[in-house]
């Protein structure tokens, strides 16, 4: 099956209502810095995925499955796909 290479950016954030002590600590530090007016920070994770898939839909399905089962814990976190793009060079040898 001919399939292209896709690059996706998945962002995982604490669900609304779930405490975010790390974000609060970063917010406090940001205020000490006086670099931004009243900035608040929510701390999450970002994952850059590269994978093979025949179509954009198939790539979306694979990224979604990984996000749901591995990258995020749905009890406390939500996830979304921020970027998904086809990467050229489907013929490149696998490393």
């Amino acid at each position: 099956m001919s399939s292209g290479v896709w690059s996706a950016l998945v962002v995982v954030e604490p669900r609304a209502g779930i405490a975010d002590p790390e974000g609060r600590a970063i917010t406090d530090a940001a205020r000490h810095l006086s670099l931004a007016e009243d900035a608040t920070v929510v701390a999450g994770r970002a994952f850059r995925l590269r994978l093979r898939a025949a179509t954009r839909d198939e790539a979306l399905r694979q990224v979604g499955a990984l996000a749901e089962r591995l990258l995020a814990n749905p009890v406390i976190q939500s996830w979304r796909i921020v970027e998904l793009e086809g990467v050229s060079a489907p013929e490149e040898p696998s490393r």
Binding site: I18, P21, R45, N73, V75
Partner: protein, 216 residues
């Protein structure tokens, strides 16, 4: 009685568990995370540590280790399963127990002794305990803040599946929960470390009863 103690890369409390059972006259066997057969085990302990360096989330990667399929099968046939600290996190990530262990409220890695109270004697772990009984257990964690959706929390309370509660909530856990069990009472997760309770003169008496509960 055959007791298996599962060792993931980064687990570091396995010898404490083996030692604690040895003190109780029982032999526990270390089991590698690549092991796929636990049919011989009547009780399984997932000890504390930093499995897989706590990458991603504590327990999130350990739950995909080959041994976890055997742990799930063992739980299905009624073996007793106890996850301690990082092992509790693994059981939650694996879906054997509900909820998640978040970073502690406040800024501290907690390493101290705390008072806990027995809430239910309906689990294998607490079957020899009295409801309302209080005793000390050590805690040693950064992610021990038990979090679950409101509906499940209500269910846990109604079904007597909150096993132990902190007397003074050290980490922000909902309802000060220190341990929960599955609907059968045979799969238990516990944030404190009973295998480390006590001192130079050996395991404390309540910790002995907890650990003996797992084996009947």
């Amino acid at each position: 009685m055959s007791i298996a103690v599962v060792v993931f890369p980064g687990t570091n409390c396995e010898h404490d568990v083996v030692g604690a059972y040895a003190e109780l006259g029982l032999r526990a066997t270390l089991v590698h995370h690549r092991e796929t057969d636990l049919r011989w085990a009547e009780a399984i302990v997932l000890p504390g540590g930093f499995s897989y360096g706590d990458y991603l989330r504590p327990g999130a990667i350990a739950r995909f280790a080959p041994v976890m399929r055997a742990v799930v099968e063992a739980a299905e046939r009624g073996a007793a399963v106890l996850g301690i600290c990082n092992g509790f996190q693994v059981l939650c990530e694996a879906g054997l127990l509900p909820g998640a262990l978040q970073k502690n409220a406040g800024l501290r890695f907690l390493c101290e002794s705390v008072d806990v109270e027995v809430v239910s004697d309906g689990s294998v772990l607490t079957q020899h305990m009295q409801v309302g009984e209080r005793f000390e257990l050590p805690i040693n964690h950064f992610e021990g803040n038990y979090t679950v959706d409101e509906a499940t929390l209500r269910l846990l309370e109604e079904q007597g599946r909150v096993v132990l509660r902190y007397v003074e909530n050290p980490n922000g856990s909902m309802h000060a929960i220190a341990g929960v069990c599955d609907p059968t009472g045979r799969v238990v997760g516990l944030m404190p470390h009973p295998e480390r309770a006590g001192g130079a003169f050996g395991l404390s008496e309540p910790a002995q009863r907890l650990l003996l509960g797992l084996v009947g």
